[in-house]
């Protein structure tokens, strides 16, 4: 049944997408939401529990990711049976577990502020009500990417702080001209050893998840090579989520007499 429905939607996409001439960014984004379930369905999403595998070359790590519409999130990775949290946001600060101690540590305040101003607003989709997030969009023409003709839409997000200085922040999205779903996004890495380089994220395996179509696979590419692949096997929207997962755990108190 699900397959049938998918087939139907795909046929509908081909049949009803409007003429691809003279696009505006607004039209492209509207078509994307319309073709993937409708704006109302997207707006009903308040949380997500996604289960899947993250691959880094031959290394694979099963994970569960919890995301809330208010920006809180936590990714939980199974590492040799232990629950390891490599990334979380509690609404105010980003935190992660230190690999050596397995204990939670807060990210630097700049990273948290940048996250709060941008990525925390991006669930379930950065383009949803983008104006209320302080974002702007612009159409940048067509380009072939992934062998496929795509509309380029630049999403200008809120400025970020990079090592104490404010910088503009934008992401280029490529929407397939045939069905209007994003297939690639590109952004510059702003800090760390790879700063200045462009990172691409490829979106694929759009599948029915609840009332919408959602990409189940994200491949991250640098310099044309896949460096990370996120594949979700299950996506549950508006799931019951134990919100304590977002709270940064206290560090364990060392037992008396323990050396530092």
């Amino acid at each position: 049944m699900k397959t049938l429905k998918l087939l139907f939607v795909l046929c509908a996409l081909v049949a009803f997408t409007p003429n691809t001439q003279a696009q505006t960014a607004e039209e492209i984004v509207d078509n994307f939401f319309e073709n993937t379930g409708g704006m109302d369905a997207w707006k009903k999403i308040k949380s997500m529990k996604a289960t899947g595998t993250a691959s880094f070359g031959p290394q694979k790590f099963p994970f569960i990711m919890y995301t809330m519409v208010d920006g809180r999130m936590a990714a939980e990775v199974d590492l040799q049976g232990s629950k390891f949290i490599p990334q979380a946001f509690d609404g105010e600060k980003q935190w992660a577990m230190n690999f050596q101690t397995m204990e939670a540590e807060a990210a630097d305040s700049e990273a948290s502020q940048n996250y709060k101003a941008n990525e925390a607003k991006d669930f379930p989709d950065p383009f949803l009500d983008y104006k209320s997030k302080g974002y702007t969009i612009s159409y940048e023409g067509k380009e072939t990417i992934e062998g496929t003709e795509a509309f380029k839409v630049k999403l200008t997000k809120n400025p970020i702080m990079v090592d104490g200085k404010e910088e503009a922040h934008s992401v280029m999205y490529y929407f397939d001209t045939e069905n209007y779903v994003p297939i690639v996004s590109e952004e510059k890495i702003t800090s760390g050893p790879q700063k200045g380089m462009v990172q691409q994220t490829l979106y694929s395996e759009y599948l029915e998840a609840g009332d919408i179509f959602y990409p189940y696979t994200f491949d991250v590419k640098m310099g044309g090579q896949v460096v990370q692949s996120i594949n979700m096997t299950e996506v549950e929207f508006n799931a019951d989520i134990d919100e304590s997962i977002f709270v940064m755990p206290e560090k364990a108190t060392p037992a008396e007499g323990t050396k530092n």
Partner: protein, 1029 residues
């Protein structure tokens, strides 16, 4: 009615044959995710044209390069990244908008230091988002080279553009242009004539209506250069460019050449100019202290007068009008307002631009023929930026080593060879110098470890014994009674496919040696036009003599020996001749008259003698030195009697052609090196596609195809060596393949390479490291359409259909390349407090056949691949089989332990619950819990961390380590490991028995308690479920 429906149905399923349309995929549609990789080198970097500082952010610096695009540093010049990779790579100027310097960047393309090998630009571009995206500004399509972009700081819609213009021809697209509407419309506000361009335009720092423009009359041809003439002049406007007046008061009479001009940022009355004049004594530095009303001559030292066409930049310290720096061979600095100078500190020679840090004049940046340098002490000591792979190759070649080496010569940076892959990536330290001066062709002897290299004009041709480190100069010299030899700047050499010691060189004659250059024989007449009017290089330079040999003409430029017949030699000359001999040089046919569509005397840049037939050859022609940027490539199948044009409309000017490489298997597969990047045809030239995947439109001077790997290797003039790994899938592309939904390309048997070692990554933080070729299996398939909706998965299975591993598939339309490192899964480890490092090791598969299974929605596509062991392996087959058995034994033992610990943990969880909630069972539960906890402490680590607070390793850790040792070793399993195996397996057997015993004693009582009280049993999974990955 039913019949009608049936008929309609039949129509739908009938193949549509009415007008079978040919599928002609182009560019990114075809190449999918086939990607180029860059291996540099960056250690000598390449020529810089212009540096630009951000006016208020000290971290941001831009470098406009001669042939490698625009690079941006966001860390104060420690490292740079390319930001202009989709546009012409030859850069004239980079300018930031003074009001919006974070976002608005103007780039004028086309290098302005007009040496013989200079590339071309193709317009004016602007970014309004800090360099992420670019738009071309209409109106400058024919500008060829843009020297200046100057912006009114009070009204940034007012922009002046100085167009130097065409180097090799007349052009009306020159002079100073102005917009007042931010670039929508332009007016040419200063135009002198078709041979005089704007060499520099500057603005008074305090008064945007005051402008200075240096106009330069100049021209280059294939055989000469002229700088200067009556129309060269320095102009000033005080009304925003409406009116211009010459400001020559004090200058000597007569013609002028290239003029450098600068105004002191801290005192706008002070101007400096560097003149090229008819009077040698008056050349050099001039100064005005009254905004150009009058001039005083200060200095004509070598550093101030050297090669004005190449060095014409003065920079004044923004805080001190008396500190000035002049570009030059070494660069010069004055601290007394220009009266005296000293050389800048040691760095690569040929300094084209110098900038001062915006806050601290001790910090300076210098753009040279060898990259960007930084100084921290006012210009005395310089250090190189190590991650700018801008090397400018004239030529490259490859050998058949494993991994193969790439050989090549560079503009002003000697000759080199380096590996195509190296442990940890291709580093600066991997490259070996095999020649100095300007480097050009570098060829490896086919069988001996001998390398031939040369410097400009064959002044030296070296035969280098790479084993014994002995060098010998072997260039042919003039012989008694014979003509003086004329050598091109980039003189041709060739090694024979048929006689390994045979070596050819070309002056105006073909020289042949059968003893690696010890003795030479001339085997041709003068094969050029020998036009004496093109042989006056001693007069080259214009006002300043410049007889470097760069303009030597009427010479042989390319020699191609047929790979099928040692007696067939093709020769192309820089003055347009194509000549062929079929008898080893006894007789030569001048087939130039048979060429079709090639203007007379157009430079024959390369001839490729085909492997597909003795009479087949390709010739490419480059007319750029006469201002003709048309792409030309011809094919002959009859020794040059007739020629066919193989350039389609897909390749347009200014992508003039410098090289062509044929495929050795598919005659219709060709690679075209142009001034604007690489083009590929799969149908013999009917259509061409530009290859743009990680491949900028850089000038490709030479393309080679490495035979063993099928790698296309390119020598680019600005971005070093760029490689496209294994192009063999392109051979298979046909209409049949392109019409399939999924097509797997044929693979040769994959060798599972066994090499391990240490690379060290010291310095990699700021150094360029070239990407290696993968040693994994490359599974390559074509998708007719991108897979965006629905599931898609790729599995490697054994031939019985058992899953070995799942790999993320490529989903691009066109060609997809997925790699598999011959790994299976990692074992599931027992849960512990910390990680066991051994658990991150995957198994390796045995040699044999495997299925690649691609699932796309409900459809499944299968492809068989085969792997084999490495011939260089240290083990015998029997030892390897033993190793594989030990590996799997250990893998299973590790997983079995994991399952034991799972049972133990779940049981303990239930016991814990009973202890808390069922007081009656507390004692029984406690006993069991304690017994299991004691056992757990011996099985896995239960305390500490993953660093220095780690606990002593327990059974899991020791088992994991042994597994990892055996699984990852490239050698047999030693007795020491076998002994350890016995120890660990016995220990594990004992611990399992202990677990069994506990469960039989304490466990039995506990289970009985659970049963009696209707408490659910521990949630122990079946082993199969537990081990699911």
């Amino acid at each position: 009615m039913k019949k009608a429906i049936l008929f309609l149905g039949a129509l739908l399923v009938l193949p549509f044959t009415g007008s079978a349309q040919e599928i002609a995929l182009k560019g990114k549609e075809l190449f999918g995710d086939m990607n180029a990789r860059h291996i540099g080198p960056a250690l000598m970097s390449g020529r810089i044209n212009d540096l630009e500082m951000h006016p208020n952010n000290t971290r941001i610096i831009y470098a406009g390069t001669a042939g490698g695009g625009v690079w941006k540093s966001v860390d104060g010049g420690a490292t740079f990244s390319p930001i202009f990779d989709e546009h012409p790579q030859s850069i004239g100027v980079v300018t930031l908008d003074p009001k919006d310097p974070d976002n608005t960047i103007w780039v004028g393309t086309g290098e302005t230091w007009t040496r013989n090998s200079v590339s071309i630009g193709d317009g004016l571009f602007r970014s309004t988002d800090g360099g992420s995206t670019w738009n071309e500004i209409p109106g400058f399509e024919n500008s060829e080279r843009i020297a200046s972009v100057v912006i009114n700081p009070n009204n940034t819609n007012e922009v002046y553009v100085g167009v130097l213009g065409a180097l090799w021809s007349d052009s009306e697209d020159r002079g100073v242009y102005k917009t007042t509407d931010g670039g929508k419309t332009w007016n040419k506000i200063l135009y002198i004539g078709p041979s005089t361009g704007a060499a520099d335009v500057i603005m008074d720092p305090n008064n945007p209506n005051t402008l200075y423009a240096s106009m330069w009359e100049f021209r280059r041809s294939g055989w000469g250069f002229a700088s200067g003439g009556p129309t060269s002049a320095l102009y000033k406007s005080t009304d925003g460019g409406a009116n211009w007046n010459k400001i020559h008061n004090g200058f000597p009479p007569g013609d002028l050449g290239r003029i450098a001009v600068a105004v002191a940022p801290s005192d706008n009355n002070i101007l400096y100019a560097v003149l090229e004049t008819e009077d040698k004594a008056k050349n050099g530095l001039w100064k005005s202290t009254n905004s150009g009303q009058s001039w005083e001559h200060l200095n004509n030292d070598f550093g101030l007068v050297v090669r004005p066409f190449y060095f014409s930049r003065i920079t004044v310290d923004p805080r001190d009008p008396n500190v000035i720096v002049k570009g030059g061979l070494n660069g010069s600095i004055s601290r007394d307002g220009g009266k005296t100078f000293k050389d800048l500190g040691n760095m690569h020679s040929d300094i084209h631009d110098v900038t001062f840090h915006i806050k601290d004049s001790d910090i300076m940046y210098s753009g040279t023929d060898g990259g960007v340098y930084r100084s921290w002490n006012g210009g005395t000591t310089f250090e190189i930026v190590e991650n700018l792979p801008l090397s400018q190759f004239y030529h490259i070649s490859v050998d058949d080593a494993e991994p193969y080496n790439v050989y090549g010569g560079l503009q002003d940076n000697g000759s080199w060879y380096g590996p195509s892959s190296s442990p940890g990536g291709v580093n600066a330290r991997d490259w070996n110098s095999v020649g100095f001066g300007d480097g050009f062709r570098v060829l490896k002897h086919p069988t001996k470890n001998i390398i031939y290299s040369e410097m400009q004009g064959a002044q030296n041709v070296w035969r280098y014994d790479a084993d014994r480190h002995k060098t010998k100069t072997i260039q042919p010299l003039q012989q008694k009674g014979k003509a003086k030899l004329r050598w091109n700047w980039n003189a041709p050499m060739a090694v024979s496919h048929h006689a390994p010691d045979r070596f050819y060189m070309g002056s105006q004659f073909v020289h042949k040696s059968n003893d690696m250059g010890d003795s030479w024989e001339i085997i041709s007449p003068d094969l050029t036009t020998n036009d004496p009017s093109k042989q006056n290089q001693q007069d080259s330079g214009g006002l300043s003599m410049d007889n470097s040999g760069a303009e030597n003409h009427t010479t042989i430029f390319t020699i191609a020996e047929s790979p099928l017949d040692e007696n067939i030699l093709w020769v192309g000359t820089d003055d347009g001749n194509v000549q062929v001999t079929k008898d080893g040089g006894k007789t030569w046919d001048n087939v130039t008259a048979n060429l079709t569509g090639i203007p007379a005397n157009t430079w024959v840049y390369h001839i490729e003698a085909s492997v597909h037939g003795k009479g087949i050859a390709y010739a490419v022609f480059d007319g750029h030195t006469s201002g003709d940027f048309t792409p030309y490539a011809l094919k002959t199948t009859d020794y040059g009697k007739t020629w066919t044009n193989i350039i389609s409309e897909d390749v347009q000017a200014p992508a003039f052609v410098r090289n062509i490489q044929e495929d050795y298997e598919n005659e219709n597969l060709l690679f075209l090196g142009t001034e604007m990047g690489l083009y590929v045809t799969i149908n013999g030239g009917k259509n061409w596609s530009q290859f743009t995947n990680n491949m900028p439109p850089v000038a490709v001077h030479f393309v080679d195809l490495q035979k063993q790997t099928n790698d296309v290797v390119m020598g680019t003039h600005g971005r070093g060596v760029i490689i496209i790994d294994d192009i063999s899938p392109l051979r298979e592309l046909s209409q049949e393949v392109l019409s399939k939904d999924v097509h797997f390309f044929t693979n040769e048997t994959f060798t599972m390479k066994e090499s391990s070692g240490f690379s060290g990554s010291f310095g990699a933080e700021t150094q360029f490291v070239g990407r290696n070729k993968t040693t994994a299996a490359r599974i390559i398939y074509y998708l007719k359409k991108r897979h965006t909706f629905g599931k898609m998965a790729l599995e490697i299975q054994d031939m019985d259909g058992n899953r070995i591993i799942t790999i993320p598939p490529g989903k691009s339309k066109g060609i997809n390349v997925v790699t598999w490192g011959f790994f299976g899964e990692r074992p599931k480890m027992a849960e512990g407090k910390t990680f066991a490092a051994g658990g991150f090791t995957s198994t390796r598969v045995p040699a044999g056949k495997y299925k690649v299974v691609l699932t796309k929605g409900k459809k499944t596509y299968e492809h068989i691949i085969e792997t084999k062991y490495d011939d260089t392996s240290l083990t015998t087959l029997a030892e390897r089989k033993e190793q594989e058995k030990y590996t799997m034994d250990m893998y299973n033992m590790v997983e079995d332990l994991a399952y034991t610990v799972h049972q133990l943990t779940e049981t303990q969880k239930t016991a814990q619950m009973v202890m808390e909630k069922h007081p009656k069972g507390k004692k029984t539960a406690q006993k069991l819990y304690d017994a299991l906890e004691s056992l757990r402490g011996d099985l896995v680590i239960t305390s500490g961390d993953n660093y220095v607070a780690s606990a002593e390793p327990e059974l899991r850790e020791r088992m994991g380590t042994l597994y990892s040792n055996i699984a990852s070793s490239y050698d047999r399993v030693t007795q020491d490991r076998k002994n350890n195996y016995v120890l660990i397996s016995e220990e594990y057997t004992a611990e399992k028995a202990r677990f069994q015993k506990i469960m039989e004693k304490e466990g039995k009582k506990f289970m009985s308690f659970l049963e009696k009280n209707d408490i659910p049993k521990p949630a122990i999974k079946s082993k199969e479920d537990f081990l699911v990955k």
